[in-house]
Subunit: 127 residues, 2 copies
DNA sequence: CGGCATCCTTGCCGATACTG
DNA sequence: CAGTATCGGCAAGGATGCCG
């Protein structure tokens, strides 16, 4: 059965949807190669289980590569595949948008957005 | 209490995270103004409850505007605020990436991604 | 038509313990 | 160090019915 999408965003969400995937990808985008335990430090909120889980899904989607070093102690490095690098612009924008959003909230408080909204309403009523 | 983010993407996810928000925003980005029932047609999978819910959250985040027409039958139109328009580049990229991803899968089958991964592995081993 | 409230199910995800 | 397995809570989300 072929899945049908109204718009591409649904397909994208199937790949990077979920609570942690964009965060994981962003870190990989910034750092290059990341080991499992490094992830756990970078993303304190995530559990071992979810981390492995999300990494597996990203791997199967072809976005990241999992390199296993056969040694003791074990070592596993994750990195973006070339296909995963195609996500870079999106990841960067998600990152910068969020940073600006936070700045905005810190500078002017929560209600700056409401003020903005009121301006929009005023605009529309003149039309 | 002030929330602290390691990277901006976490803040972004707080705003547009969730199963439906990016889809809603994408539709608004494409169509301009959308009525409630139009949304239900555009997004068949969503329930009335979730639709209202997600729209409210986006409204409170300052991304969309809810215009109520006082008439019978009732009429409500949603549209992006000027702040919400700042999302456009992200929404467009999410959309186009997904479209290309779907194309890729349809053209070459699921395993093209695995082949890509193998190439990456080969690359790394030469280094 | 658009929205709210209620009940109820699903499955996500965390906590814990264990293997190689 | 990296990963698996199992259990269970709890919130996300669906279905239904009622209101302006």
């Amino acid at each position: 059965m072929q899945k049908v999408y109204n718009i591409g965003v649904e397909a994208t969400l199937e790949v990077i949807g979920g609570k942690w995937k964009p965060i994981i990808l962003c870190h990989l985008n910034h750092h290059g190669k990341i080991r499992t335990n490094e992830f756990r430090r970078l993303i304190p909120g995530i559990s071992q289980k979810m981390l492995t889980n999300q990494l597996r899904e990203l791997e199967q989607a072809g976005l990241i590569h999992r390199k296993v070093f056969n040694q003791v102690p074990p070592k596993v490095e994750y990195s973006l595949t070339s296909y995963g690098h195609g996500m870079e612009p999106i990841l960067n924008m998600l990152c910068t948008w969020g940073e600006k959003h936070v700045e905005l909230l810190q500078d002017k408080g929560e209600d700056v957005l409401l003020k903005q909204r009121d301006e929009d309403i005023a605009m529309q009523q003149t039309s």
